[in-house]
Structures are given as structure tokens and as C-alpha cells.
Point group: C2
Amino acid sequence: MDIHFRLATEGDLDSIVYMLADDVLGSKREKYEQPLPESYIKAFHSIKSDPNNELIVACKEETVVGVQQLTFTPYLTHQGGWRATIEGVRTAASVRGQGVGSELIKWAINRAKQRGCHVIQLTTDKERPDALRFYERLGFEATHEGLKLKL
Amino acid sequence: MDIHFRLATEGDLDSIVYMLADDVLGSKREKYEQPLPESYIKAFHSIKSDPNNELIVACKEETVVGVQQLTFTPYLTHQGGWRATIEGVRTAASVRGQGVGSELIKWAINRAKQRGCHVIQLTTDKERPDALRFYERLGFEATHEGLKLKL
């Protein structure tokens, strides 16, 4: 399949939020409606104006079929190394099982190398065992526990 | 113990890197020497110049006895919610077991609320079972797997 990747624009937001909501866990916490809740638009502009955040879409011809957010963070640890974090990876139901997810992650790995990161990381909900295997196949190792506290 | 918290300055770097290196896992990957490797100083300035990153030190009188880095990230997920991430939490050997670690994390939780985050998160190496219990006692839940890929 011929997939290309680019930075998301505001015009992609509708497709992106649709994908975020069209998901077992996302359906409980997202709100896809017309017009889109203002909070998504505000977050989009916060991401876009931050040079250390990139919202990436995968496109099949002109159609958005995947999304992920990359965050690049300078840390003191590892002798002052930068890390890349992947979050919010989703693919459209219409292309599931066609390798778009793998292509997204491979793109993220290359982008993280370009940005000089020494590691790329992500967390995946323990309720998504298939996602864990997917990332392990791509070379990630589940060396850490991922903890959250709702505020 | 009377502990106060503030943003780290370049003058704190020596104490901070000493703490990062004086650790079971850190001793394998950090490099504490005089003068400090340039990479730490460069990372410090990258953190300092990023409004979404805060390097926080805990001080007992004038002595730095703890450190952590907070990163605030805007995401589209959770209806465009901001998250806080804690990384690189260390306390000085001289105060271990005196609650400085808990105070650091409680400070981070309050700071994340001030910044309008809906969740605060971190990952902890599975080789640190004590750290996992420490965070669970503070209310964090290990709902996620934390995956890394070295680049």
C-alpha cells in the first residue's frame, strides 16, 4: 500500500478525532461530534506551536488513515540524552491489518534518529495485549512498568 | 525534615549528576567527573529553555538532596488533555528513607494540577521493585507496560 506521512494540519482534525474515538478504550473517553469540541482544537494548536511535539498523519492518497504524536524531550539522565516518546497511535478501521501501524512506528523510529534521540519509548495499556505484541515485534522491550495517577 | 523545592540552576548540576550516578542503574550509564561532561550542561540548557520542562531540586537548607524532571505535554487524546510526566527522580544517599522521595512526588502532583494536567505519569524500571511499591503507595496504578527501543 502506498502510504505517505506528514505533519497534521487543522483540516485533518476531524479524521484524527474520529480515529481516536473509534477504539475500544478511546470510545469511553473521546467525544467525536460536529463541530468538534473546542478542547481538541486548542490542544492541536498547543502541539503545533511546540517544536518538541509533532502530530504525524499517515495518508493513503489524500485520506488520513493513521495518526501518532511524537514528543522529543531533553533529559539529564543517560549523560544528557534526548528521548522520543510515541503516543496516541491509531489507524483507521478501513486499513487495519494492512501494516499501516508498523509503517507509522518505523517512521517514528527514523524521525527519532534524525532528531538525535538515544531511545524511543511508549507505554501501552495492559488491556491491549495485541498492542504489546505488536510493539515487541518491532523491537521494543517491555522493561518498565507504566504508572498513571488521575488528577 | 524541612525541605523546599525550586527550579534547578546550573550551579546545582554537579550535585544533580552526582545523584544520578550514585544509583544502581545510573552507575552503569552516567559519567560523574570534573569538569562535568559537556553533554549534561547542554541538556540542562535545553530543559531550561523549554517552557514545558522543569528540572526541580529538593533542598535541605542550601544542600540539594533530591531531583526530578517534569514534562508537560499537550495531547489530542482524552479530549485534548495535558499530561505531566515525571522522570529522573533521585534522592541523595544522605537523606534516603527520610521521605524526601515522597515529598518530591507530592510536589510534582501539585505542580501538575497547577498546570491543568488531567493525569500524571511515569515509568519505572522493572529492575526496581521497591520503586514500584513506592509509587503505588502514592496512588499511582501500574496500568501500562513501558516499552523502550535503543536507537
